[in-house]
């Protein structure tokens, strides 16, 4: 059963279609990678699915139209990690992660035992506990990205929508974040993650949804099948170097195709 589904989403900006009849659904236990060239509408689709952007079409959360949900209830179900998320004030890391509990806060304040446990767990999962007392604005970009992911996870969402959570991270922490997301999905969370790194996407996602530049879904299938279909190379306009390691397929962007060969 899908927890969050978008059907026939259409969205245009300045007369140019960004999304043109897109379907995407995600269920518990899935880690769906949302991939595609720049400007294909990946972030737009994520915003629409998070209820932050109104578009034509239908989005349903737990089989109920998203717009019928109360804001607070929706915020408890869906965690959203903005691309390049940052904090305007030099709060301590722990304060930032604590803000993630906002959707659960009682009107009269105070942090309950459940809040503290969720905050500590999220900080541990994202490996930011050692920065707890440091100001978030004093961290490096990669460290800050992990803090922001911890903020989103502290809310204990059933669904996580993450926009390029691995961008700007070193390989070690890229793998750490992707292993974390895959692990959360294996534990029953529904994850949709926008990625630019095809190697990470192919290796860690259970399904890949490929958007093309016309804002349509070019493919929505298992990573190995997507690789076999050749759609990746066509949509990105590149030649891929394919291989396998430990029984899993991988692909490296090798060279650009001449523009007329591009899909």
């Amino acid at each position: 059963m899908s927890l969050l589904s978008a059907r026939n989403i259409r969205f245009a900006r300045g007369g140019r279609p960004i999304l043109d009849g897109v379907d995407l659904s995600v269920g518990a236990g899935e880690c769906v990678g949302l991939i595609g060239p720049n400007g294909a509408g990946k972030s737009t689709l994520l915003s629409v699915m998070a209820g932050l952007l109104k578009a034509d079409g239908a989005v349903a959360l737990d089989d109920r139209p998203l717009e019928q949900w109360k804001r607070a209830d929706r915020a408890r179900r869906i965690g959203f990690l903005e691309q390049g998320a940052t904090c305007h004030w030099p709060l301590t890391v722990e304060r930032v992660v604590t803000l993630g509990r906002l959707p659960h806060a009682s009107p009269w304040g105070g942090e309950a035992e459940a809040d503290r446990a969720a905050i500590a767990r999220a900080m541990q999962q994202c490996d930011v506990t050692q920065f707890a007392e440091r100001s978030v604005t004093s961290l490096s970009g990669g460290e800050r990205a992990r803090v922001m992911l911890a903020r989103a996870l502290a809310g204990d969402p059933a669904i996580l929508l993450a926009d390029e959570p691995a961008a700007g991270l070193d390989p070690y922490h890229q793998l750490q974040v992707m292993e974390l997301l895959a692990g959360l999905a294996a534990g029953g969370m529904a994850v949709v993650v926008v990625l630019h790194d095809l190697t990470l996407a192919l290796r860690h996602c259970t399904r890949l949804c490929l958007l093309d530049e016309a804002g349509k879904v070019a493919a929505d299938t298992a990573p190995a099948d997507l690789l076999d279909s050749g759609a990746l190379g066509r949509v990105y306009g590149i030649e891929l170097l394919r291989g396998g390691h430990e029984g899993a397929p991988f692909a490296l962007p090798w060279r650009r195709l001449r523009s007329e060969m591009r899909a």
Partner: protein, 340 residues
Amino acid sequence: MTAVTHARLAAPAKVPVHIALLILFPCLLLASFLIGPAEVPAADLLSGLFSGQGSPAALIALEIRLPRALLGALVGAGLGMAGAALQGYLRNPLAEPSLIGASSSASLGAVLAIYFGLSATVPLALPVAGMLGAALAMLLIQGLAGREASVLMLILAGLAVQTLAGSLTSLALNLAPNPHAALEIAFWLLGSLTDRTNDHLLVSAPFILAGILVLAGSGRALDALGLGERTAGSMGVDLNRLRWRIIIGTVLAVGAAVAVTGSIGFVGLVVPHLLRRVTGNQPSRLLWPSALAGACLLLAADILVRLLPTNDELKLGVVTGLIGAPFFFHLLLKTRERMR
């Protein structure tokens, strides 16, 4: 690790600032009540306060000193709270209440009441005209910025309203019917708590208090907004509601304050700025301390006004500026050191 987390959450940092403000505030309130041009012994004033009408001391206590002290505290609290809320909302430490046109439009309303001679003939015409001015400005900003206004549109609309109100105020000063009116307008613009009565208190207090409460309720949403508008939206914050909450709260608190005291600058800018670091930089934790510190600053300035042996009583807006600016210099130098 977990133990550390628990300790931090159980005991929020920097409690002493709140306590210091809570001690300082009643002391200043009492001092403001006891100090004045008429040299009445403190004991007579205090017994007059509780015994009711009758003696001259009781009259001074109830009709002059009490409204002045309470009004000073309320106006300062309103300015401090509005400054903290606006800096949080605009995510800019240099924002202040005048940015969305609340103070200049309230000033314009009051100045027009002086210009047309209403203030001399109709009781309370001045504060009421001031509040009407602020309310009109709010409607104008709402119309200009539109329903789904961004922060930038809000600032631009506020700036437009502020410019218009400022120009019209200057026009009134320029075309003042006689030199006396011009002087009255100019002095009024400098801000003062002198000769404010219980009527002034009663006409403005409900609005200032309502404004303070409206703004105080925005703390959590302001915290979330610090993570960006989209993230705040995903955390359940209704951004439209928050924006109107900030505008309405500011216009109520600042508009009503300016309507009875005249323009008092710097409080809304400097107070939140001074407290930001000691409250851990979190917008929600800055709100009430800023209100308290604003009240303290205004009371202190109003005490100073009455103590300084000048020919003409110094105007409050002048003194808050003179107190506030050196603090600001100090803060800038400290910030520069940290940035090195």
